[in-house]
């Protein structure tokens, strides 16, 4: 999965942060420096070091996937096409009509081709 490196990095950072937090707490003594309030507990340290990054990651992930959803790209080259036929500006309409009418006109318009037409064809 694509998230595997992220999960691995988070898991690897967990023991490291515990060790660092432990040494920081152990070195604190009331004699050096101004009197401090009770230091961060292990849970708070873990929350700061891991919770906030995880929160940021989740927020960014949500933002990316919420704003980048495949709203328009419904066609994939090489895959099958199941959508109903559509005829824009087809017969009997200046603008495109409803799909049902288009299907009816599509079915009944098996008329003979006109001679002397031009154009081009292409494949992709």
């Amino acid at each position: 999965m694509r998230n595997a490196p992220r999960v691995g990095a988070l898991a690897a950072s967990l023991p490291l942060s515990v060790v660092l937090a432990g040494t920081a707490l152990a070195s604190g003594s009331p004699d050096d420096g101004p009197p401090r309030s009770n230091g961060l507990t292990t849970v708070e340290t873990l929350g700061l070091l891991i919770g906030i990054p995880v929160l940021v990651i989740v927020v960014i992930w949500l933002l990316v996937y919420a704003t980048n959803r495949p709203s328009g790209e419904r066609y994939r080259p090489g895959l099958s096409w199941w959508a109903a036929p559509e005829w824009f500006n087809g017969p009997g309409s200046v603008e495109s009509g409803s799909t049902d009418e288009q299907q009816e006109t599509t079915a009944e318009l098996e008329s003979a081709p006109i001679e002397g037409v031009g154009g081009a064809r292409a494949r992709w």
């Binding site: 328009g72 081009a120 992709w124």
Partner: protein, 133 residues
């Protein structure tokens, strides 16, 4: 015909952009542009010409763009009058503009840029001296 519709081909926004491109192309020219997106059974060319004939009285001055996404086939058919303003070379340019984006998966965008290309090339008729033709 065992065609079972299973969803819309375009989003409303894509549909609107295609309609707008058709309107712009028709304002630039005296031609009637029409876009068909669906299966072209059998010979795609024959089918596309039959679709053009289905436009009735507008068929001679119509330009039909027929796209078959499943078969990856594109057919541009110009009517007998329309091909004077839009020759086969210009249609080839339009087809190239479309298939480039089709291959990237952008069906609606390809149709819009194809309509734009065709509309721009149809504005200036190549045959200015009709008596020589």
């Amino acid at each position: 015909m065992a065609l079972v519709p299973a969803g819309e081909a375009f989003t409303p926004r894509q549909r609107e952009s295609i309609d707008r491109a058709i309107r712009q192309a028709m304002q630039q020219t005296d031609l009637r542009f029409s876009v068909f997106v669906g299966a072209l059974e059998g010979d795609a060319r024959v089918r596309a010409e039959a679709l053009l004939a289905g436009l009735g009285d507008d068929a001679p001055r119509a330009v039909l763009i027929a796209v078959d996404p499943a078969a990856r086939a594109l057919e541009i058919v110009t009517g007998t009058l329309a091909k004077r303003l839009l020759d086969d070379y210009a249609c080839g340019l339009g087809a190239l503009a479309m298939t480039t984006q089709f291959a990237a998966g952008d069906l609606a965008g390809g149709i819009v840029s194809g309509l734009r290309t065709l509309g721009e090339h149809a504005r200036s008729p190549r045959v200015l001296h009709v008596e020589q033709s």
